[in-house]
Amino acid sequence: MAEEQLVTFRLGAEEFGMDIMRVQEIIRIPPITRVPKAPPHVEGVTNLRGNVIPIVNLRVRFGLAAAEETDLSRIIVLQVEQKVFGIRVDAVTEVLRLEAAAIEPPPPVAMGLDAQFVRGVGKVGERLLILLDLDQVVAGETKYEFSA
């Protein structure tokens, strides 16, 4: 039976999950340099061992209210289609396996979130995990190029 391994994280009251294969590493919040004229959800750039990578603020991306940085705040470094970037989350909760059968298609209105980012909803006991469509989350970034 097909199963997925997910990294789950918290953003406000919701819990999210993403494919572990896309996760390169999880780091504490480093110094972030703001980038003028970047799209609003790009918080800035940071130095990841000599490479400059952009940091996406998922709260801004999903239209949630801003939150204070806490001890639990983390950056999840992802690699999607050769592009490396980090996303800021309120807390990383766990790594778990999920049967494909436990994944349901996204409800029409996905918990106040833009439905385009949601790939499905996973059930883990009583908990509901919002599974992110990373390609969609990044798609906004890649579109931010001048069309020649």
């Binding site: 110094p31 003028p36 750039v45 400059v52 952009p54 592009k83 190029e145 020649a148």
Partner: protein, 695 residues
């Protein structure tokens, strides 16, 4: 058998493949440039000999690797070159055309080889054409229109690559007493959709006979420069009727019918195939010998250069970059230690060592950067062919003058500069230069000139693309700018300001979209590409005398000296090569002119950009009485950047912001400072360009 050798797994082809590709591309380049020269010089035995050698070694190498289509093409080309060498054939534009086409095809084949694909590129048509010349007995001098060959005296039966079925049909037709014709059809030059005409011709023929074969293939016809094709058809109608029928198709310029010598060709066809058989056999047998032969003659030549994979070199450069960053941190630590222990001799020794290390690093860095420098001639090299083809297409007479090919600049710049330059040249030919008739009427030489020049200018390199054509249609551009709302109707604009409008996205005054420059790629893309390299582009245009584009680019992109400036809580890096001076300016000395802040600098008004406004940086509660102004400039444009503080200069390694954040206005890239924090590098080129356009 040698044929089996190829499949022998113990022979690692991949190992040689890289070398083969490099070498073959070099030979192809040599052939390409040589052919253009040949066309200019005419019959030059030495030149033809060189070309022959290139073709020969290409054939040998390709045979060893087992790439038969390339062998077939080079073999046929070699035959043609041999005839040129012996003087039994003349150099005509048509011959050069076909040989150039050969180089194009082989280049594409090499790409397919490189990508690990089967060679799909067609080649039989070209081989057929070339064999046609070689087996024609008499030197086949083809004129442009091909009229001469069409005359009965020079008729050359073509190899239509007949299959058994076709031969049966020919025999059958012969028995019935039908005529078997080779029909040479010449289309009006520059006919669009040649393949469609060919299909129409074939349909008409189907009404009065049977079309057996057509050369070249329908797909190639579309891309072929030649506007001719050949049909093999059988029909009971008299030749004149067939001719009339075909001439009825629009855009058909000429039709020539020849009785196809069926018997000789049918037997000749057997010869063809036999010859092909021996040829491939021959190739396998010969090449293992001939390849080492070439090697032997080279053995005596001392090696002055080695090929290095660019990835390895880039890796080296990256490491040097990291070392530069690390050294900066060491220096920082030394300075900090000195603050804590001013009397400690070990600290002084550390600082001394750092200075020496710095000197070594500078040398190392310079040497490494020099590895990356390549002459710009490698880019210029592809333009003679481009201009030649464009001249043909537009029916203009053009002379391309290249200068400063030896000027060296960074590999990355060289790679990125090709497309913008090509675009400028296309524009110059298509929009700039007039037709010979127009030029004569204007009292100019019928041949237009496009010149390309490169030279060093301080820390920059300047590339100048100039034409002596009609100049930019400034009035038309102004009207367009007004129509687009970029400028007011009555606004007084200098010629230069008007010319700048062509860099706006969406700009085009072309009345007709040609397939040369009207592909929807505008000058804005050229500008953007150059800005992203940290460069600028300038226009100087004179009505009736021509247009000059001057491109200025930094010499290198990887490691630069930068001035670090503070703006509010943020730090930015400005490439030192564009910094002219720094000033301390009192706020009251700033004036606002036309919505832009200015400051008087030695009698000239210097436009100012407040970085905090430009970059939305929170302003301090109480603005300081005096601010720092960093005067930056490229070429003859200057601009003052207003900042809060200067942090001094240091070496920085330029890092890309990556795809996600590339192309942000005003930002050229990022760098990592000694404390590990990321700092953004200002894109002076785009800031300057913005101010000039906005003014």
């Amino acid at each position: 058998m040698d044929g089996d050798d190829r499949k022998n797994p113990s022979v690692d082809v991949a190992e040689f493949l890289e070398f083969y590709l490099l070498d073959s591309r070099e030979q192809i380049d040599r052939l390409g440039t040589g052919l253009l020269e040949l066309e200019k010089e005419g019959q030059d035995v030495n030149l033809v000999n060189d070309l022959f050698r290139s073709a020969h070694s290409l054939k040998g190498a390709s045979g060893t690797m087992g790439f038969l289509p390339i062998v077939a093409l080079t073999h046929a080309a070699e035959d043609v070159l041999d005839r040129l060498r012996r003087g039994t054939m003349e150099v005509t534009p048509a011959v050069v055309d076909v040989l150039l086409e050969v180089t194009d095809r082989i280049r594409m084949m090499l790409t397919q080889v490189e990508q690990g694909q089967e060679i799909r590129e067609e080649y039989e048509d070209l081989v057929g054409v070339m064999k046609g010349w070689s087996s024609g007995g008499s030197p086949t001098v083809r004129t442009e229109e091909g009229a001469e060959e069409a005359r009965e005296g020079n008729f050359v039966p073509r190899d239509f690559f007949l299959e058994a079925g076709d031969r049966d049909k020919i025999k059958e037709a012969e028995n019935k007493g039908y005529g078997i014709y080779q029909i040479d059809v010449t289309l009006v030059r520059d006919t669009l959709m040649k393949a469609v005409r060919a299909v129409v011709v074939m349909q008409r023929l189907e009404g009065i006979g049977t079309v057996l074969k057509v050369l070249p293939g329908i797909e190639e016809m579309e891309t072929a420069r030649d506007s001719r094709f050949w049909l093999l058809a059988v029909s009971a109608e008299p030749p004149e009727a067939i001719r009339e029928e075909i001439l009825g198709v629009s855009e058909v310029a000429e039709v020539a019918l020849h009785s196809y010598p069926t018997l000789s060709v049918l037997s000749g066809e057997a010869d063809f195939s036999q010859e092909r058989g021996t040829e491939s056999y021959d190739t396998y047998n010969n090449t293992p010998n001939s390849a080492p032969n070439v090697g032997v003659s080279r053995e005596n030549v001392p090696i002055h250069t080695i090929r290095v994979d660019t990835a390895r070199m880039d890796n080296l450069i990256n490491m040097v970059g990291e070392m530069v960053i690390t050294r900066t941190r060491l220096v920082q630590t030394g300075t900090d230690l000195k603050g804590h222990y001013p009397q400690e001799p070990m600290v002084s020794s550390l600082i001394e060592t750092n200075v020496y290390l710095g000197r070594l690093m500078n040398d190392l860095q310079e040497s490494v950067m020099r590895l990356r420098m390549v002459p710009i001639g490698t880019v210029f090299g592809r333009f003679p062919r481009l201009v030649r083809d464009l001249a043909r297409k537009t029916k203009k007479e053009i002379e391309l003058v290249l200068q400063g090919e030896d000027t060296e600049l960074d590999k990355t710049v060289v790679e990125a500069i090709g497309d913008p330059l090509m675009h400028l040249i296309r524009n110059a030919v298509d929009h700039g230069l007039e037709s010979p008739a127009e030029r004569r009427a204007a009292g100019k030489r019928a041949t237009g000139t496009v010149s390309l020049d490169a030279y060093h200018q301080g820390n920059h390199i300047a590339i100048v693309v100039a034409d002596d054509g009609c100049g930019l249609p400034l009035e038309k551009i102004r009207l367009k700018a007004v129509a687009e709302g970029w400028a007011g109707t009555r606004e007084a604009l200098s010629e230069r300001e008007i010319a700048q409008f062509i860099f706006r996205p969406g700009f085009s005054t072309a009345d007709t979209v040609t397939d040369i420059s009207g592909r929807g790629v505008g000058m804005d893309v050229v500008k953007k590409a150059l800005n992203s390299l940290g460069g600028t582009i300038d226009i100087d245009t004179r009505d009736g005398q021509g247009t000059t584009f001057t491109i200025r680019l930094p010499l290198t992109l990887a490691i630069i000296q930068a001035l670090l400036v503070e703006v509010g809580p943020e730090v930015y890096a400005i490439p030192l090569s564009s910094v002219l001076e720094t000033l301390l300016v009192a706020r009251r000395d700033m004036k606002t002119v036309g919505g832009r802040a200015m400051v008087q600098l030695r009698g000239n008004a210097l436009p100012l950009i407040f970085l905090e406004e430009e970059f939305d940086i929170p302003k301090p509660e109480k603005p300081p009485e005096e601010v720092f102004v960093v005067v930056v400039g490229l070429g003859d444009k200057a601009l003052g950047l207003v900042v809060d503080g200067l942090r001094g200069q240091q070496e920085i390694v330029i890092k890309s912001l990556g795809e996600v954040l590339g192309n942000l206005p005003g930002i050229a890239g990022a760098t990592i400072l000694g404390d590990g924090k990321v700092t953004l590098i200002l894109d002076i080129g785009s800031l300057l360009q913005d101010v000039v356009v906005r003014r």
